[in-house]
């Protein structure tokens, strides 16, 4: 017992340094943006703003285009996520459990979209959409954002379905469940947390997607992030962008907290084959 008492946990200085650097890299920019959002006067060379206040919050949130963009973003993201789940989850199950000709090539093609420089691909798609009169329309943006979710919504659920023990499904068949019942009562609940993680990732990813939304949606469709970029590009007032950033940060923070509680970190790891 005495030897046990003598063993003191060594301080891992290297680990602490890395953790600190990582924290600065992640939290630093957030802090700066956060500070700007509550700043009224901040002139060089001061390290701390001269005057804090909520003036720009009132100005930003008072603009009708901000609220329109927020509602549009939420609508778009919900539609895209639901559509993506409806299309991708059955496809993921097929990829995980069935063998059909061209399975591997099809499966890999979902990754291929992400292997090209995204902007070049978008321009090519925009050219096609122009012919189809989809430019500047809600469904045009839905389509382009749908493509962006495919990878998460196929690859992670495939891993989730593959991780479900086949013997569990067989045991359910054995006690009298039809294949459909097995899927609802056994496969889906087993894969559920990981699939929820995938749905969440694509919801958040779609909400913040800008390139596609801008290229296909402009000028009729302005999502929240597109609006934010235009503020940052066109207005010399930094605070408009900063306030919107903070506003946009809230839903994703809530979503991640919710995910952590409901899903647990393990589900994300499993989704990536961990």
């Amino acid at each position: 017992m005495t030897t046990l008492a003598l063993v003191r946990p060594r301080t891992d200085w290297l680990g602490i340094v890395f953790a600190a650097l990582l924290t600065i890299a992640i939290v630093g920019p957030l802090l700066v943006v956060g500070t700007w959002a509550f700043t009224e006067v901040w002139r060089y060379p001061n390290v701390i703003p001269q005057q804090f206040g909520f003036r720009f919050w009132g100005q930003t949130l008072g603009r009708p285009d901000v609220w329109n963009a927020l509602m549009l973003s939420l609508q778009l993201t919900t539609v895209v996520t639901l559509l993506s789940a409806a299309i991708c989850l059955p496809a993921a199950y097929a990829f995980a459990r069935m063998s059909f000709p061209g399975r591997n090539i099809l499966f890999f093609s979902f990754l291929a979209g992400h292997a090209f420089p995204k902007f070049g691909l978008l321009v090519a798609i925009a050219a096609i959409f122009l012919q189809l009169d989809l430019i500047g329309t809600f469904w045009g943006v839905v389509l382009i954002q749908l493509v962006g979710t495919l990878m998460f919504m196929i690859w992670i659920p495939v891993a989730a379905f593959q991780a479900v023990d086949r013997r569990m499904e067989e045991a359910a068949r054995d006690v009298g469940a039809s294949p459909l019942r097995v899927f609802w009562s056994i496969t889906l609940p087993q894969a559920g947390p990981t699939i929820a993680a995938a749905v969440l990732l694509s919801f958040v990813g779609t909400f913040y997607e800008t390139e596609g939304a801008w290229l296909i949606g402009a000028p009729g469709i302005r999502t929240m992030p597109v609006l934010m970029i235009s503020y940052i590009n066109n207005q010399m007032v930094i605070q408009f962008g900063a306030v919107l950033s903070v506003v946009l940060w809230v839903p994703s923070f809530i979503a991640l907290m919710f995910a952590r509680r409901v899903i647990g970190g393990g589900a994300f790891a499993r989704g990536f084959g961990g």
């Binding site: 023990d165 013997r167 067989e170 045991a171 359910a172 006690v175 469940a177 087993q190 559920g192």
Partner: protein
Amino acid sequence: MSVLHIVEVTKTFPGGTNAVDSFSLDVADGELVCLLGPSGSGKSTLLRMVGGFEQPTGGRITIDGEDVTHLPPERRPTGMVFQSHALWTHMNVFKNLAFGLKLRHMPANLIKEKVEAVLELVGLAGYGDRMTTQLSGGQQQRVALARSLVLEPKILLLDEPFASLDQHLRERLREEVRDIQQRLKITTLFVTHGQDEALSMADRIVVMANGKTEQIDRPDVVYRNPQTPFVAGFIGTMNLIEGEVQGGHFVRADFTVPLPIADGPATLAIRPESLDLAASDKPGASVHRVTDYGTHGLVDLDLADGTRLKSMVAHPDLFRAGQGIELLPRAVAAYRNNQQIYRSSP
């Protein structure tokens, strides 16, 4: 009260190998039959065909005269216990057991009654609220057994159910399962690669190799009178000696035994407990190593050409490594062309 008939069932996997090759077996009402064989012998594939998880490429399977060969698992009166127990980890013990009953639209109070009764049967009364992941390996396997039993299947199928448990637990569980099986008089097909399990539990043993039956017999008969060299070598310890028969004697190196069969190659089989030893000055066999197990001893010995044999002796202290030895077999069997052609009366 159910009988199982397996008639010339064949399973050919894509690629042409016969996992099960024209296999036939009748299991009587209330009988426990063990399918025993090394991995790759086709025993699990056969069991999975009875359960409906694999489709035979030929032959028929009937239960109480009803042809179930092409029925899906959910429509077969069979209950399977898997090696990995395959409990549903997102449900508690009660829900695991109630799932099949719910599918049969049984009223809730009757479900509760039946689940509690079966938990009692497997010695887990009061465990209904536990999550399956909170149970020990032995408890999980008991729940898996209960999950099958609660549906009162006509045929119980056990696929190496104790393979993932430690030795001590395995021995206890196999006694329990045997007790439950006899109390319920449920017709059971049991797959194992452990001969202890088969010898201690089975009414009859089917020894399988390469998808075919080597022998079907009571456990004591399989042990005492193996019909093929494979069975002789697979069940228990056996000295199998390849040699020649010349003029009524089996010959291998300096070792000869009278063997009244026609001249030609033969395999001689002697159990270690049927091979007596005597000290000898003559050149020939010699002691390689002596192991004292307390209750008995085991002597490893070499023939002149290096063939290693084992003999079980009552007094291992009489033998020393390097010592010359004379072999005195009391009971032998001989095999030729994969069949028993001679057996000395014991």
